[in-house]
Structures are given as structure tokens and as C-alpha cells.
């Protein structure tokens, strides 16, 4: 109860500050930060990394007009490549075009796809056993520090430097730097281990039809004294969530509701869904370095005051979220939209196809997409997977040729049109892609994309601990401060680094 009271107080404070001068300051600061931070978590290429990229460019220009895939693949004709991948659209799409690769090279391609948990089990088991069954493996970037540190996968720079194997149209400039870097560059000094293959990022989903409804607009203005608009900051987000939360029998857009309707859909399950969602808030409140978990020196900042405030805010949103959402992960959030019971959510862009699918969704064509509101820093939490070639792969060169081909502009565009999330700027900029409703928001969001602390091999366990205490906090088993202090202490045992903000509740 004390916690609820505190959250209420925070939000009342939030309402007030909407209308005082601080708002103008906050907006100005946000704008300035947006301009100056943009890719605030991105690290510039180091001289060694830049040297490699320059070398690749040089070889590519020498190879221009001389190199062909058919010629490069001659020695590997008859080889069968086995790929282990996630059960995702991004993996379904290339399979439709694999025959083109086989026709050109004589190399067969066989895919094995499994759901997330099963995929990771297979991947780690296979790597640990060193079977060499797979020539290409999709690795979630959460595991890249581990699999590169354990040398389960091999760097691909040697293939890039080999004129016989380098496609002159590799166009490395096409990759968004932070996306490629956090996904595929690991080690000291960092080396590329592949290219991004599945890279969703979080955006704002909202019900455009409701936001544009004249009755709703009028009512909102009466109640909050400003225009109903796509929330630009989290105070507005709270207002809109509160405004659209209605009981069965009340009216929404002029029609009587036959069931309860909610302003926002949150994911509260003890799952990475809650971690990813909350990390957006923590980063927006206190800065996006490693999702607001660690500082640049890997010291622990998870319990910084901004994060505590962000957690209190997140907990307060659950009063406008369906009661069942305390047990939701991301798929159920999508279902809630499809069933027309929520107005807004922070969601993964790759799920947008699902809410736009008229056969599955009651809100197809009624959705709007934008970047996540900004508290102080503009942010978008992204997840990513990397193509990798296992160290024990039996056909690494043939695997590289496939990797290069499947990531070529032409195939990447075709795959994006099949529903895969693009990672190349070329694909984003193509007219066919930019007209997809959520792509402009996605492209914009990627400018503010930040990763979780995937550079730490301990991240898997850290994420589990965070998920546990986030749930404990929103279930009111402990305060936001207690929960994050506890996370900080548990993380210290794992990482051995210092806690910057000494726990107040331990």
C-alpha cells in the first residue's frame, strides 16, 4: 500500500510538472539530447576495426567486375550447408530463395529451425560437444560474448580479407554501425563474427483510429487541457493510458464497450519481456548505456535513482493495463491488440505484421507506430541475432559464401518484403519497404537503439535476476528501491565490479 501511495504521489507530481515550466525545459533537453546522443550507446570504430573495413573496401574495389559467385564456389560444389536458426520469419524468408544460391553454386542448403529456448539448448550443446554438424548458426547477441569468448565460433575477417571469397558488392557501409557492432563484433580487439540476421527493435504501438476520433479528442482536451496526440513523453503516455482505460458499458469512440478496455498493455511476466520493456524506461530516465544497467566501466548502476523512478512509473502503468498482463510476455501483448482490448504499448517492431494481419487481427489498418516516448533520453531497446560460422564447421568457406549472398542487398530486400526485419540501410531506404506502416518508426527508432549489457557473458544470469526482482516489485512484494538494490547486490556477486549507488535498503 505504501508503494501504491508513493506511485500515486509520483504520478500526481507528474501531472503537475506537465504544466509548469519544467516541461518546456525537459522538452528542450530531450531535443538537444536527441540531436547530440542519437546513437548514444554506439562506439566509434577503433583504428584496427576501421583498418579492416578499409581493407575490405580496397579488396572489393579490386574485385569489382572480376569476381563471380559461381567462380568462387567452384571448389565447394556438392557441399551441403546445414543451418541452425531461430523459428522466425527472418529464417523463413531466405529459404524461399535458397534455390537461386544452389543453382549458382551447386551448394545445397538445409535449415533446422527451433523455438528460442530449444534453439539455445541445441546451440550450446552442439558448441560444447564440438560436433561440427552445423555450418552456420544463428546466435542471439545475448550469447555472443560467451560463444566468442569460448571460441565456439570463428571470426569472419579472414574470409573478408580473402580476394577469392570477397564479393565486391558486400557494401559494409550499409549496416547501421551500432546494430552491426553490438550484434557481431566481439573480442579484444573486436573482430566481426558475422552479420545481423534478426534484429527487432522496440517502438510505440498505438490505436490511430482512437487517437483520431473527434469524440475522444474532445473528451481528452476537456480532461487534460491539451490535444490528444501520440505521446512524446512519459507524462503524456500516462495521461493517454489513463484516459483510454474504460469499463464494460462505457463508450469508446462513440460505441458502447462489451468488455473492459485498457489504455496500455504491459508485460509483467517473470520473463525477458518485462526486462526489455522496463529497460526502455530506465534508459530514457537515466541514459541508455547498456540499458541503464552498467556504466562504461561495467560498474553497477542498476539501482541509480533514475531507475528507481522509472520502475515506480512502470509499476504505476499496470493500473491501466489488463489485469492478466502481470503474466504477459510479448506474444500475449500482441494478442491483446489483435483482440482490440488495449490502446497503446511499447512493442517489438517485428510483431507489427501480426497486428496488421486482417485475418488474425481486429485492429488491422487501425494501428499507428512511432518511436517510444522520451523522458530525458530518446531510446529504443533492440534485440539482435548474428549469423556465425562455428569453429568446428566442416565447410567454413562455403558457409561464408552463403552468408555473403544471403546478406546481399538484393536478397536482403527480398527477405524484408517477406517480413524479415532489415538491417541494411539500402533496404530501409527502398520505396517498397518505407511504405510498410511501421518501417518509418523502426528506422527512426534505430537511431536511438541501445543494447542490453550483452558484452558481459554473465548477462544471461543477470537478466534472470533482474526479471525476478522486477516482478517482485510490480507484485508489491518489495519496493522499487529494495528490488533494484537487491539486483545490484546479486549482480556484484556475479561480476565482481563495484556498485556505484550504495544500496539504501540492504
Amino acid at each position: 500500500m505504501a508503494e501504491e501511495g508513493r506511485v500515486e504521489k509520483t504520478m500526481k507530481g507528474g501531472r503537475l510538472f506537465m504544466w509548469n515550466g519544467k516541461v518546456i525545459c525537459a522538452t528542450l533537453i530531450s531535443l538537444m539530447l536527441a540531436l547530440s546522443f542519437g546513437t548514444s550507446t554506439a562506439q566509434a570504430w577503433t583504428p584496427e576495426e576501421q583498418a579492416l573495413l578499409d581493407k575490405v573496401k580496397e579488396i572489393a574495389s579490386e574485385n569489382a567486375g572480376k569476381w563471380s559467385l559461381e567462380e568462387a564456389a567452384k571448389s565447394y560444389k556438392g557441399v551441403t550447408l546445414k543451418i541452425l536458426a531461430d523459428a522466425a520469419t527472418e529464417a523463413d524468408a531466405p529459404q524461399k530463395y535458397d534455390s537461386e544460391f544452389t543453382d549458382k553454386t551447386g551448394i545445397e542448403v538445409v535449415w533446422e529451425q527451433n523455438p528460442w529456448d530449444e534453439h539455445r539448448s541445441k546451440m550450446f550443446m552442439d558448441f560444447a560437444a564440438g560436433t561440427g554438424i552445423y555450418d552456420l548458426v544463428w546466435v542471439p547477441f545475448d550469447d555472443m560474448a560467451s560463444v566468442t569468448g569460448k571460441e565456439y565460433v570463428q571470426p569472419v575477417d579472414k574470409f573478408m580479407r580473402d580476394p577469392k571469397l570477397l564479393d565486391p558488392n558486400i557494401n559494409l557501409d550499409d549496416y547501421s554501425e551500432p546494430l552491426w557492432k553490438y550484434t557481431s563484433w566481439y573480442g579484444k580487439p573486436a573482430k566481426p563474427y558475422g552479420f545481423p540476421c534478426e534484429n527487432p527493435t522496440m517502438i510505440l504501438w498505438y490505436r490511430k483510429d482512437l487517437f483520431e476520433n473527434p469524440i475522444e479528442k474532445e473528451n481528452f482536451k476537456k480532461e487534460y487541457r491539451y490535444e490528444l496526440q501520440v505521446p512524446k513523453n512519459f507524462a503524456q503516455f500516462y495521461h493517454v493510458a489513463e484516459f483510454f482505460t474504460r469499463k464494460k458499458g462505457e463508450k469508446l469512440a462513440g460505441e458502447e464497450l462489451n468488455r473492459d478496455f485498457y489504455g496500455v498493455g504491459c508485460s509483467g511476466k517473470r520473463h525477458w519481456a518485462s526486462v526489455c520493456e522496463w529497460m526502455n524506461l530506465a534508459s530514457s530516465w537515466g541514459g541508455p548505456t547498456w540499458g541503464g544497467t552498467l556504466d562504461e566501466n561495467d560498474n553497477i548502476v542498476i539501482n541509480r535513482p533514475e531507475n528507481v523512478e522509472a520502475l515506480e512509473y512502470w509499476i504505476s502503468l499496470f493500473r491501466f493495463s489488463p489485469p492478466g498482463s502481470v503474466d504477459w510476455y510479448w506474444d500475449l501483448k500482441t494478442t491483446a491488440f489483435q483482440k482490440n482490448i488495449v490502446a497503446m504499448a511499447l512493442a517489438w517492431n517485428d510483431q507489427s505484421y501480426e497486428v496488421e494481419d486482417a485475418e488474425k487481427s481486429e485492429v488491422s489498418g487501425k494501428m499507428g507506430y512511432d518511436i517510444i516516448p522520451t523522458q530525458k533520453y530518446p531510446v529504443s531497446h533492440f534485440g539482435s541475432w548474428s549469423w556465425t560460422i562455428p569453429t568446428k564447421a566442416k565447410n567454413p568457406e562455403a558457409a561464408w559464401l552463403y552468408l555473403q549472398w544471403v546478406n546481399s542487398r538484393d536478397i536482403a530486400l527480398k527477405c524484408a518484403l517477406e517480413g524479415a526485419m532489415p538491417s541494411r540501410k539500402y533496404v530501409f531506404d527502398s520505396p517498397e519497404i518505407s511504405t510498410i506502416p511501421f518501417m518509418p518508426a523502426t528506422k527512426k527508432a534505430l537511431d536511438y537503439a541501445f543494447p542490453r549489457p550483452v558484452h558481459r557473458p554473465e548477462w544471461g544470469e543477470m537478466g534472470e535476476i533482474l526479471a525476478l526482482y522486477l516482478t517482485k516489485a510490480h507484485r508489491m512484494e518489495m519496493t522499487a528501491q529494495e528490488a533494484l538494490d537487491k539486483v545490484a547486490v546479486e549482480w556484484q556477486k556475479l561480476l565482481g565490479t563495484s556498485i556505484v549507488y550504495q544500496p539504501k535498503t540492504q
Binding site: A128, K150, R270, H271, P322, P323, G460, E464, T471, K472
Partner: protein, 294 residues
């Protein structure tokens, strides 16, 4: 003669070999792993010898493990107790001939025949707060349900218990019914001649005669309930918080999410030892009581 003597042993070889490869070898391997610092995710933990450090941490410092152990014990005591009472009660009720008995018995065992994963998925849909049939029925009879049953610490564990009871009561029921069918008639006739009441017949004839079956049924259910994993994995993932983090879920997370195989192996060994002790105690106590009775 010699050939005949060894033939028995020879015939046992395939079974023993299977047992060795499927049980003993993995167990010994787990034991070796439990003495090492091995984490597939953390490069610095690459299998260094840890002596008993994993066990020391588990037993003395890991509060999460003991929390899991505590709720597992609570879970199994409640579910096995209720399943036994319901299953035995149903068996006594249906231990007579009537029309439609076969159909009723067949229907009663359906939950037990569904794979636990399917049970989990089925209940996940049924318990969905917004769209599930169970939630709808609860609300439609006027019970106020403010949050999802699996979404609060107060109701998540009891909900899992109810699902387990729904699925496994038929198991006890079937064993007890088969036992009741196979009981000899003579002791009952003798008791009736002696003028025993129905309660006395149940307490002094039926129960002692069914005792071996009861022990086996309870033992199997205790072991099985201790190993409950599928429903927890699908329905709650151990949450909310750690309210349903039964010990097998804890072991799964340690081994296959965090990939701390050394520590995970020590968790599994401790679970194994606990089950062994429970089984031994169960047998010793029941054997003793049997001896006292005879």
C-alpha cells in the same frame, strides 16, 4: 551345467548395460560435473576443479534454492494428500457394479493420459484473464477476480496445485480401484459374521489389505510431484517473482538458461539425494508399522 548357471546372468546383460548407460553413467558424469566450475556461457569458468564448493554454496548460501525446496515440499504435501483422499474416495464410491461404470472410469482417467506439456498449454489458454474460459466462468458466477490467477503470488501456486490434482487424482483412483477389485472376499465375510460396522471393516480390513498398494501409489506420486516441471515451465516460468519456482524449475534454469552446468549438477545431485532419503524413510517407516501390526 556351467552354461545353465551363467545363462541367467547372460540374459541380464542387455538390461544391465542399458541401466548402466542410461542411469549410472549420466549420474557419475553429473557427480564429476558437480565438482567443477563449468559454465558454458562464462569463458573463465571452463571446468576448473571446485572440490565441494558448489555444494557448500548450495547448502549454505543459496536462499533461492531453499525457497524452491520449501515450496516444492508444500506443493507435494498438498497435492499428494488431496489426490490421495479424492482418488481413494472415488475408488470406494465406484467400487460397485452399476450401469455406465466403464464409461465413467474411462472418462475419469483422461486428464492423466494427456501429456503434461499439453496440459500446461491447455490451462494457459483456459486461465487467460481476458479470454480464458476458467476466468469467464469464475466471473460469471459472481466471484470478483481482480487479477489473473497465475499473476499473483497468492493464487499462482494454489492454481498449479489444482491443475496437478485435476491431472493426477485419476492415477490414485485407478490404482485404488484395481486394488479394491482384487481384494479377497473371505476377510469381509468373516468381519460381517463378527458383526463389524462398515467403518470397522474399512479401517481394520480394507486399509491393511490395501497398504502395499497405497504405499506404492503415494511413493510414485511423491517422486512425481517432486519432479513437477512442465506445467510450471509453461504456465508461470517460476513466477510471479519466485512464487512457483519449484525445485526442478530452479534446476532447469541453472542448467539450461544460465548454463552453469557445474553448479546445476550439484543441484541435481542434491535433489537426487533428497528423493533417495524420502524414499528410504517412507519404506522404513511403513515397513516398521507393518511389522508392528503383524
Amino acid at each position: 551345467m556351467l552354461g545353465r548357471k551363467y545363462m541367467g546372468y547372460l540374459l541380464l546383460v542387455p538390461t544391465l548395460a542399458l541401466l548402466v548407460f542410461l542411469s549410472i553413467v549420466p549420474f557419475v558424469y553429473a557427480l564429476i560435473l558437480s565438482l567443477r566450475h563449468l559454465n558454458l556461457k562464462i569463458p573463465r569458468l571452463s571446468g576448473q576443479f571446485a572440490a565441494l564448493e558448489n555444494f557448500r554454496y548450495l547448502m549454505r548460501e543459496d536462499a533461492e534454492f531453499w525457497h524452491s525446496m520449501g515450496i516444492t515440499v508444500l506443493f507435494l504435501v498438498v497435492v499428494v494428500g488431496i489426490e490421495f483422499l479424492l482418488g481413494f474416495g472415488l475408488a470406494l464410491l465406484l467400487n460397485r457394479e452399476f450401469r455406465g461404470k466403464r464409461i465413467l472410469v474411462s472418462l475419469a482417467v483422461i486428464p492423466m493420459m494427456i501429456a503434461p506439456v499439453a496440459v500446461g498449454l491447455m490451462w494457459r489458454v483456459a486461465l487467460n484473464y481476458e479470454l480464458g474460459i476458467v476466468t469467464y466462468l469464475i466471473k460469471s458466477v459472481g466471484i470478483p477476480l481482480k487479477e489473473a490467477l497465475l499473476g499473483t503470488s497468492l493464487t499462482a501456486l494454489p492454481t498449479l496445485m489444482i491443475i496437478d490434482i485435476w491431472q493426477w487424482t485419476p492415477f490414485i483412483f485407478l490404482i485404488m480401484l484395481a486394488g479394491l477389485h482384487s481384494l479377497p472376499k473371505e476377510p469381509y465375510e468373516a468381519a460381517q459374521v463378527d458383526g463389524a460396522s462398515r467403518w470397522q471393516i474399512f479401517r481394520l480390513v480394507t486399509l491393511p489389505l490395501l497398504k502395499p498398494l497405497i504405499i506404492i501409489a503415494l511413493l510414485l506420486r511423491v517422486i512425481d510431484a517432486f519432479k513437477t516441471f512442465d506445467q510450471v515451465y509453461i504456465l508461470t516460468g517460476g513466477g510471479p517473482g519466485n512464487a512457483t519456482d519449484l525445485v526442478c524449475m530452479f534446476a532447469y534454469r541453472t542448467n539450461f538458461k544460465i548454463w552453469n552446468l557445474g553448479y546445476g549438477a550439484s543441484v541435481v545431485i542434491v535433489i537426487f539425494i533428497i528423493i533417495l532419503i524420502v524414499t528410504a524413510l517412507f519404506y522404513t517407516v511403513t515397513q516398521k508399522k507393518e511389522e508392528e501390526v503383524t
